[in-house]
Subunit: 183 residues, 2 copies
């Protein structure tokens, strides 16, 4: 199936530190009628599943301003312009948000957070042999609590609605896929 | 950990048919300094995993304007004001996007698409014994191709980057959790 849509105009609407919004006017091959589409533009994101030697996963809990609730997640964030690669961004976020380092990160998979309205991707990495190497260094204003949890409890935490972030759950899907636990 | 943030002001920035954006000014307990947070407001969403008697999953392929690419997904969409429940919305989306009906839908789980910047939730349902009951009735301007696929191929489709939508992958996580395929 080919792309039937042609973009006629695009117009930036707002800019924020985390995302911008633009409006595209498009027409479909056989129709002269224009239709508006609104696109959330964001840089690519990363998240990382840090696993300790003791088969614990290093989760974080922090206040999220979209839902205005606490959220239990894996470390992650935006790829900064200074980050040489998604992998380097994941390593940086792991260090800043948890104080942990690890053996070299392993790429697990890439998703589109929401291809309907967002243009960006999210990369998930595994951080094997994760261990505390220093202090947390979170972004200004962020309070992040590190919650070490047995890896075996993750499916139950998702089942119980303690982990609800779709990108975190998609990341664990990739993890279980890599472990061939999903057949 | 309690919520240390108090909202001082909130200001609508843009309205679109799919989402709005607002700016919140907040202060943290012990600091007088205000910080801006940008929130994407959206109604709750649904998606649905339709499984036929032959153990096929009824996928759809459609052009997505966020990525400007084709995307292989499960049926789903926004909960309309007229929908009496998330379950009814899922049933409606299944019917409109695929022409399929099913035995009564089974709730699988709920996620936050992105608690950092979005306020909404996405419900996933299982549609057992899915079968064609009529014509598709997609939204104006949408072309949707139904792609019946053996359910057993889904992990491979995700692995191969054919299915990349994080909400679809999170939905399948819930499915495999329900089937106790994830231990």
């Amino acid at each position: 199936m080919k792309n039937e849509w042609k973009r006629r105009t695009h117009e930036p609407l707002i800019e924020t530190p985390v995302f911008n919004v633009r409006r595209d006017q498009k027409v479909k091959d056989e129709s002269p009628r224009e239709k508006d589409f609104y696109v959330i533009e964001a840089v690519d994101w990363v998240n990382v599943i840090p696993i300790t030697r003791e088969e614990e996963v290093v989760l974080i809990e922090l206040h999220r301003h979209g839902t205005d609730e606490l959220s239990l997640e894996i470390p992650g964030g935006m790829i900064d312009p200074e980050d040489p690669s998604p992998l380097a961004a994941a390593q940086r976020e792991l260090r800043e948000e948890t104080g942990y380092g690890s053996d070299p990160l392993v790429p697990l998979g890439v998703v589109h957070p929401n291809p309907a309205i967002q243009n960006n991707r999210c990369y998930t990495f595994l951080a094997p042999n994760a261990r505390l190497v220093g202090e947390q260094d979170p972004d200004e204003g962020e309070s992040i609590t590190v919650v070490k949890t047995p890896l075996s409890q993750v499916p139950q935490l998702i089942h119980d609605g303690r982990i609800t972030h779709s990108l975190v759950i998609a990341g664990f899907f990739w993890y279980y896929l890599g472990e061939t636990l999903i057949p």
